[in-house]
Symmetry: C2
Subunit: 141 residues, 2 copies
DNA sequence: CAGATGTTTCATGTTGTCAAGTAACTGGGT
DNA sequence: ACCCAGTTACTTGACAACATGAAACATCTG
């Protein structure tokens, strides 16, 4: 019943685990530099692309909507995000970044060095190859 | 000031973000199947390799030692882990998995499908290539 | 003995779930 | 057109887990 996993696959899995760990570390660190928690940074990053209803944020974060209420509350209290009515549906509240929120999101993105610097060590051909392999792994092809 | 990032690199970074998200999802899901939280599963996994002092667990998890106290408390309350004195230093408590804890850890590892199934779609040459690229990215070479 | 180290406890804040409540939309049936 | 039942969006409240920081305690080290 135990799936047979050859050493090569195991090594790749372990490498991915390391990538995941490092990515998280750097993400939290970058968020902390802007006095944000990881969850707050993720939401702000989402909203900086486009405003969206609370419900949609919850779907993206894969958590309960009631949880999003609190996170947006805290972002709103700090003036980084605001709630707007949705003209098409009065039940809906659209969360949108303020100007300051947009600025913070941009600075946050820039301080997210991960994978950008390490990737610089790879040639363009290698990066293309890495992209294709990751795509296939994720079934994004 | 903004580091120039070509579209290819950006895409790779985004793909890695997706990998990270999916990895976490599956990890939490696998943990939940055994009625564990993510943090508890991580600690149990750590200890299943070898017992270690609380302090070391905190270093591995990159959190405060006082946090580990609570996580190990909950694992101990469920009979998955026990605290033993360290014969060499009476201040230290070694956390070690019980037999049941070892079993749970093993079942947990087996239910961690991530990357194993997706990787099956790659040929051996491709997996080797992916391994080498990840190694170089991580500076593990 | 003085200082450093390992663990716990306490206070506090954030994230997460679930259940209940309110407001607003939707699709019948009359 | 109207109303009503059911659904959907969001919030609130209770509660558990996770996380930090400060303070307490026992123990080690020089």
């Amino acid at each position: 019943m135990v799936p047979r996993t050859d050493p090569l696959t195991l090594e790749v899995v372990e490498l991915i685990g390391t990538v995941v760990a490092r990515y998280h570390e750097e993400y939290e660190e970058a968020a902390a530099e802007h006095s944000l928690t990881g969850a707050q940074a993720r939401v702000l990053g989402l909203l900086s692309h486009e405003p969206m209803p609370m419900r949609r944020i919850a779907q993206r974060l894969k958590c309960e909507p009631s949880n999003v209420t609190g996170i947006v509350d805290r972002l709103e209290a700090r003036g980084l995000v605001e709630r707007r009515p949705d003209p098409a549906d009065r039940r809906v509240k659209l969360a949108a970044p303020t100007d300051e929120g947009r600025g913070t999101a941009a600075r946050l993105r820039d301080s997210l060095h991960f994978a950008r610097e390490p990737l610089a060590g790879l040639s363009e051909a290698e990066r293309t190859s890495l992209r294709d392999l990751l795509r296939r792994m994720l079934g994004t092809d």
